[in-house]
Point group: C2
Chain length 477, copies 2
């Protein structure tokens, strides 16, 4: 046990024995340093570990708190996917979700879109409008293939918060994070190759596997600590895995953040088996407490991590501004970028660069994460109140997505069909599996401004799910 | 011979016998109808055939003219590529060209970018600026996966000019024409497959072949009539060709437009061998005379033509607005679109849709094509004046690219190296070949506002090329 782990263990024991109770403020970092005779960074690392384990949270400007009654009592269970490479299916289901992303006649409780109504976004519109008047920018011309230098510089500054030291030339701007993921996978694989993924896993990435004729090896994943390194190691021994694809921070859909030590261990494992890692960090900037968790990329000392991210979850997906830090695969990735879409659109890049450079991005992040944290607690309360007993609920420390595991009797694909009559749509868990598992799970979005109409919709989902549980208990006529 | 072909033959004879001389105005359509007792559409088809053959041209509001002395005396030669499938190379050369697309310190005579300085583009900036003030549009949200309905509707109207009848749902909006081409190729092929291409051929498509592990079968191509259908037929008999990829209208780089009858014959050939056609029509709207030539797609009666196009050559490539009409492959293409970049950026689509709907696009096209037609003639004169004797020059009836074939002694890759000292860059012909052929050719752009500085640069290119011819004649010391 390292020093900080010992400090964390002591604090954890006190919490578990009720010395510090839910809602209590914990001793300050300085107090911990004094009491346990350790340095500040050790105390901070200990608190980070407790946050990773969802035992405590940090509230801006007030300190660390034991997680309150809002924390769900039951977490979703650890996934047990098939332990062999599978072809990915589910495109019809994904298309249905994607096709409804902008359906104004239904309440899309499961969508993956941030709140676009906050005033802290307004300067971005102003900047965009202004750019169109500055013809000297030549915004209609191609941008650089690797992306606008202004934007790459800002991204290089941003990723410092996740402990990454990247040069602007280490970054390729992409057309959304989706293109970053597609390029990373095409750079690393040939049709027929096997890719290990956390499970459940973002359906967009799964569909890239499908389109490229790749096989998904879904690894058991813990709703608190992420992909099982033990299972992954076994898989690496058994299968010719070309790449490991994970979303280790504020995971979509499961909500966990891999503890920092496990992130480091993952890189070591990949080094041992000489395999590349594709890290999707798109929710990483939406941390409810500072500092945000480090990326897997930050432990990458030989360029084997290809980090994918972008502004779709922080600013807006319609901008289509993402990025890829391709490590040692830069040359191949640049070729893939060229053939995929050429340079990305010019004006959105310039606008985002200016928005970040002028400090609007930080301000916006501070505001939205406070909102999302509160809304997470409200949404969890609603689910606890309206969903069947023994429903498991995730407890994300960032982002805006909740994973809900219903009793096994509930089939969320069929639930969605019943919800259609109420003009409500959820994201069924089966989207996040190669073979359509997790049908008793669903994803909810809490980025919405949570109105009574949304509460009513959540109640409706819970009540229809309850009906399905009861139907299952009734003997067939 | 059909009726219109007979009419065309009579007119052609008169031109060849000097009855109508270069620069002369030809009889009006009505006069031809009276003289030869044919209908208007027959006379029009005859004139179109003569235009396709580069014998005459139509000038807006003044009629048809025998091509004047500006027409080059020597055309580039018919290409004779290797008659077997090849792996594509040349990425280093392409990257160099692409990387300099926005180099402000060099005069990029070979670039593929339209003139972005014309005032007829100004309303587009205004529209874009205006959109950012209309928050109800929710321009930061994802657009529909297949593209904004407003834009697809405008595109469906636009393609009527090329004799295509498409429903808005037959169209997918893409992130530039490059993405349309990449999606089309990925939809149709597996690594190792063979794709037949016209030759020389756009390097962006060739690099897609490379990235996807496809083999290029380059078909001999005539600088006046395009891909040899005879050679193509032989190739189809001999090789397992999965797709035919061509740019049949205002070809980049060779400048030809396939005569209408050959476009129809191409579709029939593809039907006979049950193979798909990928038609790149990105220059098709830049016709110097109306009506613009029909697309191959317009003869597609069983959905085997995947047409790729966009606004990069008419409005500006930095917008990244392209489209794909995938015919019977829509479902697979939509999946490929999803995994490639998700939906395309929202605001550029809305802006282009409004620009087209309000008539600004037509006005802009009328203006730029008049400019480009004049500038073509000027550029041709300069090349005739400054380049070595017996240089072949293309004679495009639309677009803004000239193909120049120098004496065999000139190596344009080396020429480019010498030009670097003069801060000039041309596009060497080798970019347009799978294996680096056409080194004695280069591509010039005449979309520039043609200043004395550009004339001086063209003179410099010609003079350095002349030096290379002389060096070759000198015996080695
Ligand atoms: C984990 C994850 N990665 C990538 C994406 C795609 O992001 P973008 O819209 O930037 O392509 C999403 C969006 O749903 C996501 O949740
Ligand atoms: C024939 C051809 N097709 C496609 C493209 C790519 O167009 P876009 O910039 O829209 O991706 C070009 C541009 O150079 C081209 O010349």
């Amino acid at each position: 046990m390292t020093r900080y782990e010992r400090v964390a263990a002591v604090l954890r024991e006190r919490i578990e024995h009720g010395l510090y109770r839910p809602g209590d403020r914990l001793p300050s970092i300085r107090a911990v340093c004094q009491e346990m005779s350790v340095g500040i960074s050790t105390a901070q690392a200990a608190y980070r570990q407790l946050m990773d384990a969802a035992l405590i949270e940090s509230r801006p400007k007030s300190g660390y708190f034991v997680l309150s009654g809002g924390a769900p009592s039951v977490l979703p269970s650890v996934s047990r996917p098939a332990q062999r490479p599978l072809d990915v299916s589910q495109w019809d289901q994904v298309l249905e979700l994607v096709a409804t992303q902008r359906d104004d006649h239904r309440l899309l409780l499961g969508r993956g879109i941030p709140n676009l109504e906050y005033a802290t976004l307004n300067p971005l519109s102003k900047i965009l409008a202004g750019l169109h008047r500055r013809t000297e920018l030549n915004g209609f011309n191609y941008d650089k293939l690797s992306g606008s230098p202004e934007l790459r510089q800002q991204v290089a500054k941003l990723v410092v918060a996740s402990n990454c030291l990247l040069h602007p030339d280490d970054i390729l701007i992409t057309t959304g994070c989706q293109e970053a993921l597609a390029i990373a996978l095409r750079t690393l694989t040939q049709p027929g190759d096997v890719v290990a993924v956390d499970s459940p896993s973002f359906y967009g990435t799964m569909q890239i596997l499908k389109a490229n004729g790749l096989k998904a090896l879904e690894i058991p994943t813990d709703p608190q600590t992420g992909i099982s390194l033990e299972a992954l190691e076994l898989a690496l021994e058994q299968w010719p895995i070309r790449a490991i694809q994970i979303t280790p921070t504020f995971n979509n859909p499961l909500g966990y953040t891999m503890p920092t030590a496990r992130k480091r261990a993952l890189v070591q494992l990949a080094q041992r088996f000489d395999v590349a890692i594709i890290e999707d960090d798109i929710y990483g900037d939406l941390a409810f407490s500072a500092p945000r968790p480090p990326t897997v990329k930050s432990f990458d000392d030989d360029g084997r991590v290809l980090m994918c991210s972008g502004f779709s979850k922080t600013l807006g997906p319609g901008l289509r501004v993402g990025w890829l830090a391709p490590g040692r695969y830069r040359d191949q990735a640049l070729h893939m970028k060229y053939v995929s879409t050429g340079a990305s659109a010019t004006l959105p890049q310039l606008a985002v660069a200016e928005f970040v450079a002028k400090g609007y991005f930080d301000r916006h992040l501070r505001f939205v994460t406070r909102q999302y944290q509160r809304q997470r607690d409200v949404m969890i309360q609603w689910v606890q109140r309206y969903f069947p007993q023994s429903t498991g609920i995730s407890y994300p420390q960032g982002g805006f997505l909740l994973w809900v595991e219903l009793p096994a009797a509930v089939d969320c694909v069929r639930l969605n069909e019943r919800l259609a009559a109420h003009r409500i749509h959820v994201a069924p868990g089966s989207l996040f599996s190669a073979s359509g598992k997790f049908r008793q799970c669903l994803r909810l979005n809490y980025a919405f401004t949570l109105t009574p109409a949304i509460e009513e919709a959540v109640r409706c989902v819970g009540s229809l799910a309850g009906t399905m549980v009861e139907e299952a208990l009734q003997p067939l006529e």
